[in-house]
């Protein structure tokens, strides 16, 4: 015969497990909503000041090329923020309907952190990675164009690391390695061999 006390203990434990489960799900949703919140508003914030030259390295799937394109825009003084805006401007090009290297809707860059003048961590959003086409060549074009565009804004840059929604990710879309620091000089050399 099961004592009343034992029944109460078991019932309490079951209830506690269920409550902890619900709380865990709640925390997960909360964390995800924070992580995937919109970034467009922040990027849309205007900067006053005279327009400055910015070079974007725009990739094309058509001929496997990477072409520098100069644009003019007011830029903030903070180097990380300048880098982020440059990458945002590049990604906007890829989101245009007639882009030769299309990215998925909602693709963007969340942040660019400078650990020191030579080391940058680029935090991409999940939409960019999750909707990216899978293949060595297409992933290579995306990553190389991001690195070269960032280097154009931050001339002292030597190495870049990519995160997705603040987390380490093995590959961009199944091929290109995102787990290690990328040597900017090696990327420049490899991109120089493209058309």
């Amino acid at each position: 015969m099961i004592s009343r006390k034992l029944q109460l203990i078991v019932a309490f434990l079951v209830l506690a497990i269920l409550a902890m489960g619900f709380y865990l799900v709640h925390l997960k949703h909360k964390a995800e909503s924070i992580a995937v919140g919109p970034v467009a508003q922040a990027l849309a914030a205007p900067f006053s000041g005279p327009p400055e030259q910015m070079t974007l390295f725009v990739a094309s799937d058509e001929d496997y090329s990477m072409r520098p394109i100069g644009i003019s825009s007011p830029l903030p003084s903070d180097p990380g923020e300048r880098g982020r805006l440059a990458l945002h401007a590049l990604i906007l090009r890829y989101l245009e309907p007639d882009s030769h290297h299309p990215l998925g809707p909602g693709a963007d860059v969340r942040d660019v952190y400078l650990l020191d003048p030579a080391s940058a961590v680029v935090n991409l959003n999940g939409e960019l990675a999750n909707s990216h086409r899978s293949g060595i060549e297409v992933e290579q074009l995306t990553i190389f164009s991001l690195v070269l565009t960032l280097k154009a804004q931050l001339p002292q840059l030597n190495r870049v690391r990519f995160l997705v929604d603040g987390k380490t990710r093995d590959t961009l879309a199944g091929h290109l390695d995102l787990t290690a620091w990328m040597d900017v000089a090696l990327v420049s050399d490899a991109a120089g061999e493209l058309k």
Binding site: M1, I2, Q7, V10, V14, D61, Y64, R133, S134, G135, I136, E137, V138, Q140, I143, D170, T171, A173, G174, H175, L176, D177, T179, A180, M182, D183, L186, V187, D189, A190, E193, L194
Partner: protein, 465 residues
């Protein structure tokens, strides 16, 4: 016990049981013993009927091509075509109808599934090979792979001699009252007698049972015993031991004596190339079309290239021969322990046209020798020169054969961690249709070019090694 207590106890027990079952459940598998390879395939049970993937089953057995229009699936296996229609039981092989399947053929995400109960009926017609399926142990024998053994009790001294037609390597456990031989890899089957009683002072009896995905032979002994595997693995002798065994339950392998040094196994030929069909299993790679996955094209191309290389006398190993998952590190370890001279990772894509060849984008470490310490992610560095040499040779041959080809470097795993000449290959269709990637003509033209180039590299890479 009051009724409310009884109900409470039942519900609690049920919850605990369901939890235990949920944690313990593992996918069921069929172990396939074929002349060329042993492998396992997953069983799916939609609607309570056991199914297996046709590609998983047939791919390791020979050359397989498939095409699907979403409703029908056609397989060409070693030149013979078999047609299946989704959600029907009808099958046609070489244009002739075969007996209906016991349940409907399923076509899910471009992959065909047939009922497990139909394998024995289908394999002789599709693969032209006899098949025997042991449903209780989920063991499938393709061709005449079964190993029937004989057991003979000999005297002075008492010993049981098991004789096999081919070498075996069972795991042996000697316990106080029994000896257990477990066959996990070998297609050992019984002779139909099951349990045998001997009534000998040393041996009371034996039994042979097939277990899920294996088999077990048990000798019930009345005296301490030793086990010797001899004749290059063809005989297992269980002998009465003169001295008593110290207290012993269970003692894995205490009495197993090493095989005689006079009969070492023949050395395996060292492969020249290791081919790595990228992705596989849970990782499909790119979806090249609604019915064509990158992992499938990669494996088909790897097999075709293997055949072309072997026709040129070049020994080849594949990291995977079926639709199974391998981590990137496992692939690198396979390459590094293969003692091959060249590693080729094979990918497919719908972007661009022709063939792309990549070498690793690691920095060339000055003054670094192959014997010096390298971090895992930079291990390719001392081998970059050989990798570039290989990529250049392959690119030149592809261009000479009229295939559009490009060379580049990219940060790719596991290339960075491979300690031999290593390249990654990505093939794209020549035209706009991704289905071209699955055609035998296109795959053959690529395989021929690559094999010719690799054959020309043989001397250079072996010398560098």
């Amino acid at each position: 016990m009051p009724p409310e207590h009884s109900n409470f106890a039942r519900i609690t027990t049920l919850l605990l049981f369901l939890l235990a079952v949920g944690f313990a459940a593992e996918p069921r598998k069929i172990t396939v013993y074929a002349p060329r390879a042993n492998y396992q395939i997953d069983i799916l049970a939609p609607g309570g009927v056991d199914y297996v993937g046709l590609t998983d089953l047939l791919e390791p057995l020979g050359r397989l091509e498939s095409r699907s229009d979403g409703r029908k699936l056609s397989f060409i296996f070693n030149g013979a075509e078999t047609d299946f229609e989704a959600n029907t039981r009808q099958v046609r092989t070489r244009g002739n109808p075969v007996p209906d399947l016991p349940a409907n053929f399923l076509l899910l995400n471009g992959r065909g599934y047939v009922p497990v109960a139909s394998i024995v009926q289908l394999l002789p017609r599709i693969a032209n090979q006899a098949a025997e399926f042991h449903s209780a142990s989920r063991r499938l024998f393709v061709g005449s792979t079964q190993l029937h053994f004989t057991a003979e009790l000999r005297h002075a001294p008492s010993r049981l001699v098991l004789t096999f037609p081919a070498p075996v390597n069972p795991s042996v456990v000697v316990e106080k009252s029994r000896v257990r031989l477990s066959f996990r890899r070998e297609p050992v089957v019984g002779n139909g007698t099951g349990a045998v009683s001997y009534g000998d002072p040393f041996l009371a009896g034996t039994s042979f049972t097939e277990t899920p995905n294996g088999a077990e032979f048990i000798a019930n002994i009345l005296q301490p015993a030793t086990v010797v595997i001899g004749d290059a693995g063809r005989t297992v002798t269980i002998s009465a031991q003169a001295a008593p065994v110290p207290s012993a339950v269970p003692q894995p392998l205490p009495n197993v004596q090493p095989r005689p040094p006079a009969t070492p196994p023949p050395p395996r030929p060292r492969p020249f190339v290791i081919l790595d069909a990228a992705h596989g299993g849970d990782d499909p790679g790119a979806a090249l079309s609604p019915t064509l996955l990158e992992k499938t094209v990669n494996l088909a191309l790897a097999r075709r290239l293997q055949k072309e290389l072997e026709a040129r006398g070049i020994s080849v190993v594949l990291t995977r021969t079926a639709d199974n998952s391998l981590s990137l590190d496992q692939r690198a370890i396979s390459a590094n322990t293969s003692h091959a001279a060249l590693y080729v990772a094979i990918h497919a894509s719908t972007s661009g046209h022709g063939v792309r060849l990549y070498t690793s984008m690691v920095a060339l470490q000055s003054g670094q020798s192959r014997r010096s310490f390298s971090p895992w992610e930079l291990a390719q560095s001392p081998y970059l020169q050989q990798s570039s040499l290989a990529a250049a040779a392959l690119a030149a041959q592809c261009a000479a054969d009229g295939l559009p080809v490009r060379r580049s470097t990219a940060p790719l795993r596991p290339l960075n961690s491979v300690t031999l000449a290593a390249i990654a290959l990505e093939v794209a269709p020549l035209g706009s249709s991704p289905d071209e990637l699955a055609t035998s003509e296109y795959q053959q033209s690529i395989a021929t070019s690559l094999a010719s180039a690799i054959a020309s590299l043989r001397g250079k890479l072996e010398e560098a090694q």
